[in-house]
C-alpha cells in the first residue's frame, strides 16, 4: 500500500481508528465555509436515508483553508440531520478532515480521497463539490447506489442547466470525448461523481500524479481512464447544477483543468481510442438532459472582439499549431462583420483536432497550446450564443448533436494527424 505515503501520520491514525467502511464520500475543499455546511448536512442525510445499515465515512481533503472549513465539516452535527430527516443510522458516521497541502491542488485532493478509500476498503465512493449548494440527500443515493448495488464502476452526473451554461462542455468536452471514446458521457468533467473500489484502486496506481494534467485535471482523467479501461459506466440525473459566482472566474484555468487533461489522456489511451468508431449511449438513470431557457445577459461583442484580436495577435503562435488551410479559414471568418460572423462546426472540430495533435507532438509548451485555444473557443462561444439565442431546448440539443456528429465524422482526420506526427 504505497499510497499510504501520501497520507499524513495523523490522518492515517484516524483512518485506522475507523477500520473499514462500505461507503465513502469525499469532499475536496478550500475556503468553502460559506457553502460547506448545507452540503455536509445533505451528505449526512443522504447516507442516513439511503444507506442506514452501511458503515460510512465522510473524508474532507482540505487545501489549506483559512476560513475554518475543516471545522465546519467535522463539527456538522449528525443529530440535526437525524432530526430533520427522521431517520436513524445503525452505524457510526465518521467525519474526518485532513489538510493535504497549504494550497489547493485538485490532484492531491483526489489522490488523498482515493488513498483513504483504498485504506478503508470502501466498496463505493462519491466525490461531492463543496460548492454544490443545490445538493439534495438524493444525490448520494444516485451516485452511490449504481455502484454499491448494481455493479457499476463509474457514475457521471447529469444536470439541469441553462442553455448557455457549461458551454465548454457542450462545444468541446462532450463532443470530443464522445468521438474519441465512442461513449455518450454528457458530463465528462464532473465535480460530483461516484466510483467503485476497483476503479479507484486502479486509477490510484496510474503514473499521472506528478504530471501537470494529473495535478490540475484528475477528475477529467478519471472519466477518461474509466472510458478507456472498459469499466462499467452510468450517468445519473442529479438536478439543477448551481453556479457559485466566482466574480472573475477565468476561462484559461478551466481549460487547463479539462481540455488539457483530455488532450493529455489521448497519448496513453491511443491504442484504445484509435480503434473506436461511432458512439454508443451509456446506461442512464433519469432524464438525459434538461435545459432551461431563462435569458442570460452576455457581452457577446466582447467575445467577438477577443476572438478577432486573438487571431490577429496570435498569428505566429497559431501558424505553429494549426494547418495553413485552417489558419486561412480562421483569418477569413475573423474578417467578417459581427452580424455575419459564424464559426462553423466543421472548422471548430478541425481546429480542436489540430490543437490536440499539436499538444501530442509538443510543437511548443503544452500549456501554451491550451492557452492559444482560449481565444478561438471564444469565437465558437459567440457562434453558439448567436445560433441558440431564440432556440428551444430541443433546438439547442439538436445543435449540440450536430456538432458531436461533426467531431465523429472528422475523427479519421485526427488519426491522420496523429499518425503523421504533425
Amino acid at each position: 500500500m504505497a499510497e499510504e505515503s501520501v497520507l499524513t501520520d495523523d490522518f492515517l491514525r484516524q483512518l485506522i481508528n475507523v477500520g473499514e467502511v462500505d461507503i465513502l464520500v469525499g469532499l475536496p475543499t478550500h475556503n468553502n465555509a460559506t457553502t460547506i455546511g448545507p452540503v455536509v448536512q445533505a451528505i449526512q442525510a443522504g447516507i442516513l436515508r439511503s444507506f442506514p445499515r452501511e458503515r460510512a465515512a465522510i473524508i474532507n481533503a482540505d487545501g489549506g483553508s483559512r476560513d475554518g472549513t475543516p471545522e465546519v465539516v467535522t463539527g456538522a452535527s449528525i443529530d440535526d440531520t437525524r432530526y430533520k430527516s427522521g431517520v436513524y443510522a445503525l452505524r457510526t458516521l465518521h467525519s474526518i478532515s485532513t489538510q493535504y497541502a497549504r494550497t489547493p491542488q485538485s490532484g492531491a485532493a483526489l489522490r488523498t480521497i482515493l488513498a483513504a478509500a483504498e485504506l478503508l476498503r470502501a466498496k463505493a465512493c462519491a466525490v461531492i463539490s463543496p460548492e454544490s449548494v443545490s445538493i439534495g440527500p438524493e444525490w448520494i443515493d444516485h451516485l452511490i447506489r449504481p455502484i454499491y448495488k448494481n455493479g457499476f464502476d463509474f457514475v457521471a452526473p447529469l444536470y439541469r442547466r441553462n442553455k448557455f451554461e457549461g458551454l465548454l462542455m457542450r462545444n468541446l468536452l462532450y463532443p470530443m470525448t464522445r468521438a474519441i471514446y465512442g461513449a455518450k458521457v454528457r458530463e465528462p468533467y464532473a465535480s460530483e461523481f461516484g466510483f467503485s473500489a476497483r476503479l479507484g484502486s486502479q486509477f490510484l496506481k496510474q503514473e499521472i500524479w506528478s504530471h501537470e494534467a494529473g495535478e490540475t485535471g484528475p477528475e477529467m482523467l478519471l472519466t477518461m481512464f474509466a472510458l478507456a479501461g472498459g469499466y462499467r459506466l452510468q450517468q445519473t440525473f442529479l438536478g439543477t447544477k448551481a453556479h457559485v459566482d466566482h466574480g472573475s472566474r477565468d476561462l484559461v484555468p478551466a481549460m487547463r483543468q479539462t481540455v488539457g487533461a483530455l488532450f493529455w489522456s489521448l497519448d496513453p489511451s491511443f491504442p484504445k481510442w484509435s480503434a473506436v468508431t461511432g458512439s454508443q449511449a451509456i446506461s442512464t438513470e433519469g432524464c438525459e438532459h434538461e435545459v432551461t431557457l431563462e435569458a442570460v445577459r452576455v457581452n457577446r461583442k466582447r467575445l467577438y472582439e477577443m476572438f478577432r484580436s486573438g487571431i490577429a495577435e496570435l498569428d505566429p503562435v497559431l501558424s505553429s499549431i494549426v494547418s495553413a488551410a485552417t489558419l486561412a479559414e480562421l483569418q477569413r471568418i475573423a474578417g467578417l462583420a459581427e452580424d455575419d460572423f459564424r464559426y462553423p462546426a466543421e472548422l471548430w472540430a478541425k481546429t480542436v483536432y489540430e490543437f490536440a495533435a499539436a499538444y501530442h507532438t509538443s510543437v511548443m509548451s503544452r500549456d501554451h497550446v491550451i492557452q492559444a485555444l482560449a481565444p478561438l473557443y471564444r469565437g465558437r462561444m459567440f457562434t453558439f450564443l448567436l445560433e441558440n439565442r431564440d432556440a428551444t431546448a430541443e433546438k439547442v440539443e439538436n445543435n449540440v448533436e450536430l456538432l458531436c456528429q461533426e467531431f465523429e465524422r472528422l475523427k479519421p482526420y485526427l488519426l491522420e494527424l496523429w499518425n503523421s506526427g504533425k
Binding site: 457549461g166 484559461v252 478551466a254 479539462t258 445577459r297 467575445l303 505553429s320 510543437v363 509548451s365
Partner: protein, 234 residues
C-alpha cells in the same frame, strides 16, 4: 674568388638541403595530421548532423525562433550550421596541432590560446541557444497572457520581452567570448535603459487610458466587464 662563391653557394645549398631534409618529415607529418583531422572532422560532422536529425533539433530550433533568425541573415539551417561548426573547429584544431609540429617560434602561444578559447566558444553558443529558447518561451507566454487578458498591446509587450531577453543573452555571450566586453556592457546598459525609459514614457503618456483601465480593473470592481465569465464554461 670564383671558388669562394662556389664554395659559399655549395654551403648554402647543403644548408638548405639539410634544413629541407629536417623540415620535410615535419611537413609530411603536418599534412598527415591535417588530412587525418579532415577525415575525423568530416566523420564528426556526419555524426552530429545525423544525431541532430534524430533528435529533431530542427524542430526545436524552429520553436525557439532560431531558424527564422538564421533565415533572415541567409545562413543555412541550424542543423547544418552546427555540424559545419563542429567540422571547422575540429579540423582547425588538427591543422593547428600539425602546424605546431613545425616548431615555428611564437606560433605555439597562438595555438594554445585557440584551444583555451574553444570552451568559451561552446559556452557562448550554449548561452545563445538556450537564451533564444528562453526569449521565445517568455515572449510567447506574455503574448498569450496578454491576449487572454484582453490587453490592447499584447504583441508589443511580447516583443519588448523578447528584445530584453535577447539583448541580455547576447551581452552574456560576448562577455563569455571576451569580445568587446566593455563596449557590450555599455551598449547593453544604454539599450536596456532606453527600452525601460521608452516603456515608462509610453505607458505614462501614450498609455494613459490603458493604465487607467488597468488600475480600474484592479481597484474598482466593474462587474459588467466580466459578463463573459458569468457563463460558467463548465
Amino acid at each position: 674568388m670564383r671558388e669562394l662563391i662556389v664554395s659559399e653557394l655549395s654551403l648554402a645549398y647543403h644548408e638548405f638541403a639539410r634544413e629541407l631534409a629536417h623540415l620535410l618529415p615535419q611537413l609530411i607529418e603536418m599534412l598527415i595530421i591535417a588530412l587525418l583531422g579532415w577525415l575525423i572532422a568530416y566523420i564528426l560532422k556526419v555524426i552530429v548532423r545525423t544525431v541532430m536529425r534524430l533528435v529533431r533539433f530542427e524542430k526545436l530550433s524552429d520553436n525557439v525562433g532560431a531558424s527564422q533568425l538564421l533565415n533572415k541573415v541567409a545562413l543555412p539551417s541550424s542543423t547544418e550550421l552546427l555540424s559545419r561548426l563542429v567540422f571547422w573547429v575540429v579540423w582547425l584544431g588538427f591543422v593547428l596541432i600539425g602546424v605546431s609540429v613545425l616548431g615555428i617560434v611564437g606560433l605555439q602561444e597562438y595555438i594554445s590560446r585557440f584551444f583555451l578559447f574553444l570552451p568559451h566558444l561552446f559556452v557562448a553558443l550554449f548561452i545563445v541557444f538556450f537564451g533564444l529558447m528562453a526569449a521565445s518561451f517568455f515572449s510567447r507566454a506574455a503574448l498569450l497572457a496578454g491576449v487572454n487578458a484582453n490587453l490592447p498591446s499584447a504583441r508589443l509587450l511580447s516583443m519588448a520581452i523578447r528584445t530584453i531577453v535577447i539583448t541580455f543573452v547576447l551581452s552574456m555571450a560576448f562577455e563569455e567570448l571576451g569580445l568587446a566586453e566593455e563596449t557590450m556592457l555599455v551598449a547593453f546598459g544604454i539599450a536596456f535603459g532606453a527600452l525601460m525609459l521608452g516603456l515608462a514614457i509610453a505607458f505614462g503618456i501614450g498609455g494613459q487610458d490603458l493604465a487607467r483601465q488597468f488600475l480600474e480593473r484592479r481597484l474598482v470592481h466593474k462587474k459588467k466587464e466580466e459578463k463573459e465569465d458569468e457563463l460558467s464554461p463548465l
